[in-house]
């Protein structure tokens, strides 16, 4: 069985995000870009399933500009077998929305015919948390979202997924093929070791365009403006309880 993993290149989790001066989006020039942390977890889970013998091949896929190849290289250096790069140059005014990404991934899925698609539950840049669900809907496959544990039964072609929900842990059983999205506690992603980085250099990255996949990625939504949240005002240090009471009464008006 083959596992398809979708990965996304985003502004690094540790970078302080800034809005571009023209307010068309966030600044990405000269900013460290990395693989979305939830996608790292997805890659790790696919690799563990392969290592456990539940899958034979792990294919990483991404949609993005030429530089997104770095993200695919990371997936390959972690241990994925090969990669598919759907080239798309982003337009800040018309960003690629989850539905468009799900349509592209559906096309890739139909080509690759995996038994399982694993995605991060959301990307830390747009926080949409929709792509996995939409992909399952378009494919009409069962979905196990926010997985905190995944067990594959190869013979019965079933996946058991544990999900952390408000009341506790929900366990669901899916018929394969299926779509799974990963939550933070599913696993701890591995590091890219030197031998694996070396091996990754000879792994194949297939390049395609949305047009070649015959996917319409036009969006009905337009981004008008991106603004920073209002800045928090600096606090003051008071010297006495009386002063505090006075402020609470007369300035904050909560007493």
């Amino acid at each position: 069985m083959k596992i398809l993993v979708a990965v996304k290149r985003v502004v690094d989790y540790a970078v302080k995000v800034r809005v571009r001066p023209d307010r068309t989006g966030v600044e990405t020039a000269n900013v460290k870009m990395s693989m979305n942390p939830f996608c790292e977890i997805a890659v790790e889970e696919a690799l563990r399933l392969r290592e456990a013998g539940a899958a034979a091949e792990v294919v990483a896929a991404t949609v993005g500009p030429a530089q997104s190849v770095d993200t695919l290289r990371t997936a390959l250096a972690m241990g994925a077998d090969r990669a598919v790069h759907v080239l798309h140059d982003p337009d800040p005014a018309r960003p690629l929305l989850p539905l468009a990404v799900a349509k592209i991934l559906r096309a890739v899925t139909l080509q690759e015919k995996p038994g399982l698609v694993i995605l991060g539950k959301q990307a830390i840049d747009d926080d949409c948390n929709q792509t996995g669900q939409m992909l399952a809907g378009l494919l009409q496959w069962p979905q196990g979202t926010f997985a905190s544990k995944v067990i594959l039964d190869k013979e019965k072609q079933k996946a058991t997924v544990e999900r952390e929900v408000d009341g506790g842990i929900e366990t669901i059983c899916l018929d394969l093929p299926a779509v799974i999205t990963t939550d933070l506690r599913l696993n701890q992603p591995r590091y890219a070791t030197l031998p694996n980085i070396m091996k990754a250099k000879s792994k194949v990255i297939k390049k395609v365009t949305p047009e070649e996949l015959i996917v319409d990625i036009r969006s009905d939504m337009e981004v008008i403006e991106v603004n920073e949240p209002p800045k928090r005002k600096a606090g003051v240090v008071l010297s006495s309880v009386d002063e505090l009471l006075n402020k609470l009464k007369n300035e904050a008006r909560v007493l």
């Binding site: 690094d12 989790y13 540790a14 970078v15 000269n30 900013v31 460290k32 990395s34 693989m35 942390p37 790292e40 770095d70 990371t74 250096a77 972690m78 590091y191 890219a192 070791t193 030197l194 031998p195 980085i197 070396m198």
Partner: protein
């Protein structure tokens, strides 16, 4: 003997303070010492990691209850317990209070209040107690008074007065030092520079920052980073250490290999001399060959020649691409060869080359939460962290990968990982920077900071292991790129037997290699008498002459370096003198 003297001195202070001592102890806001003062509060640098309490509030000390339990106690009691604490410390170092210094009187306090106002004169026992003890809880003085000047003029008035009155003074920055240089030994007046924390100017064309001495390094770092520059130094204690203290101790740190020492990066200083003279050397020029370059006297002289009040520093441009690799090597020779190869192949982008032995990794992974060895598959003897900083992400990464793969083929590197994102990079740094923090969790830690030629650097660690056997654990790590070894010896508790096995051997050995017994920590109180191991008698004598010239009454940071009395050739020192280091308890 010294103990009795000290107790008597404290009692006299108490008598003189008369009316003040009768005041009920007010509960001020003691500075948050442990969460901020901890050198180990380090790795916030690259991660969002939020440190909690790093260690129990009572570290190794003689009389742990004295400070914690003093709040309700009467002032007299407290003075006594303080004197007991430092009394034992002072006995251990064979230092006696110099009777030439006056004792603090209520007139002095009134004068300081007239200069600094009520808020600048701190007599509150809790707040003074915090300033009396270093962050490791290893050195403790018995000062009664903490002064917090807000301007150079105020520092000048304080020193001028203290010089006339012969009151000894200890300048204090963030109090993060490791050798007891920033805390009083007896009843010296503490001059804290915390109130002088203004940034004066920033030249964003040349990257020259001018600021007051009390600015916290991390705040400066954040400030210049917003302007597209970085500070030329970075160290574990950056969240609390002051730039003035960095300059006074010539702090090294993690960017040393790339940007060099503060002797190169500090462009100008403003210093207040012992007699209150304000020495303005606050230029912002890269080149200035007019006479003696006096600022260098104050860089690394540990507050013994003057108090640094303003600093101008050259800040390098901030580069967008950083890559970090964590590697393992089978033997120390490979680490050395790897360093040489890295210098050749990574040249312009190499920004850190840190090494640690497997004992350090074991310690960090077992004592720090969330720290894991990135290379767990097979145990290796040595680990190396390489950081590159450059201007082109893909170029740098390709270069680093190519270098590491070549090194692996050549057998220099046994295994390795490259960080794929910033949080992985901070995990690697967390291990290296967490060693110091983890070492204090074991119990007792004897810390040595040595400069040794790189090829011999690890020999001392192995020799020390032979000498100590099972009685203690010996860790070796440090800035290999700078030939700087941090030798840490861990045992359950501080005891004289262990110390006798370590000292003076460690100093003699280092001296025999023509190394330095203090690479970046300074001499402070811990190594004041050990200067002879690294400097010739003539050099020490000249230092003493300079001290005499600039501070004739020797009021600045006394009992530390270089006091004329300490100018004895090292072979004439009796072994008893080495049993010092005053690891309390």
């Amino acid at each position: 003997m010294a103990r009795r003297d000290a107790a008597a001195a404290a009692a006299r202070v108490l008598r003189r303070l008369g009316p003040l001592a009768a005041e009920p102890p007010t509960r001020g806001t003691p500075r948050a010492r442990y969460e901020s003062g901890d050198r180990a509060v380090s790795s916030c640098r690259r991660s969002g990691w939020v440190p909690g309490l790093q260690r129990p509030l009572c570290g190794p000390r003689t009389d742990a209850g004295a400070y914690e339990g003093q709040r309700g106690a009467s002032r007299a009691c407290q003075v006594q317990s303080q004197s007991r604490a430092f009394g034992s410390a002072a006995t251990a170092t064979n230092i006696q209070r110099n009777p030439a210094y006056s004792e603090l009187s209520s007139d002095d306090v009134s004068y300081f209040k007239s200069v600094l106002g009520e808020t600048g004169v701190v007599l509150d026992a809790d707040r003074v107690a915090v300033a009396n003890v270093d962050w490791m809880g290893k050195y403790r003085g018995a000062s009664q008074l903490l002064l917090l000047p807000k301007s150079t003029a105020e520092v000048s008035k304080i020193l001028s007065y203290c010089n006339t009155r012969r009151l000894a003074v200890v300048p204090q920055g963030g109090n993060t030092g490791l050798v007891g240089g920033s805390v009083p030994v007896y009843d010296e007046v503490i001059v804290g520079l915390t109130g002088m924390d203004k940034i004066i100017s920033f030249d964003n064309v040349n990257g020259i920052l001018t600021c007051e001495a009390g600015c916290v390094l991390e705040n400066l770092s954040t400030f210049v980073e917003n302007e597209g520059f970085i500070m030329p130094l970075d160290l574990g204690a950056k969240g609390s250490c002051h730039i003035g203290g960095n300059v006074s101790t010539n702090a090294g740190g993690l960017r040393f290999i790339r940007y060099g020492s503060l002797h190169g990066n500090v462009l100008g200083l403003e210093v207040v001399l012992a007699d209150g003279t304000i020495l303005d050397m606050l230029t912002t020029l890269r080149k200035d060959n007019t006479g003696y370059d006096l600022k260098h006297l104050f860089i690394g002289s540990e507050g013994s020649l003057g108090i640094v009040t303003k600093v101008s520093v050259l800040t390098p441009a901030k580069l967008p691409s950083t890559n970090v690799a964590f590697l393992s090597c089978n033997d120390y020779t490979s680490c050395q060869k790897l360093l040489l190869a890295a210098r050749r192949s990574l040249g312009e982008i190499l920004s850190a080359f840190e090494f640690m032995d497997h004992h350090c990794i074991d310690l960090a992974t077992s004592h720090l939460e969330g720290v894991q060895n990135p290379l767990p598959a097979s145990p290796h003897k040595f680990y190396v962290l390489i950081e590159t900083t450059g201007s082109d992400e893909s170029y740098d990464k390709t270069k680093l990968e190519a270098f590491l793969l070549r090194s692996m083929e050549d057998g220099l590197v046994a295994d390795g990982v490259i960080a794929q994102d910033i949080s992985q990079a901070s995990n690697f740094w967390r291990i290296r920077e967490g060693i110091s923090e983890a070492s204090v969790k074991v119990g007792a830690v004897y810390k040595y900071d040595l400069s040794i030629p790189v090829e011999k650097l690890y020999d001392i660690v192995e020799e020390m292991r032979c000498r100590l056997g099972d009685s203690a654990e010996v860790l070796g790590y440090g800035h290999l790129g700078d030939g700087n070894l941090h030798l840490n010896i861990l045992s359950n508790k501080y005891d004289d037997n262990t110390l006798a096995k370590i000292e003076p051997f460690v100093y003699e050995w280092t001296s025999a290699q023509r190394g330095s017994i203090s690479a970046e920590h300074g001499l402070g109180l811990m190594k004041a008498e050990k200067i002879h191991y690294s400097k010739s008698p003539e050099a020490v004598q000249l230092m003493a002459s300079i001290k005499k010239l600039l501070d004739p009454n020797s009021i600045l940071n006394p009992y530390k370096l270089p006091s004329p009395s300490s100018s004895v050739p090292c072979n004439s020192l009796k072994p008893a003198a080495y049993q010092s280091c005053l690891m309390l308890r």
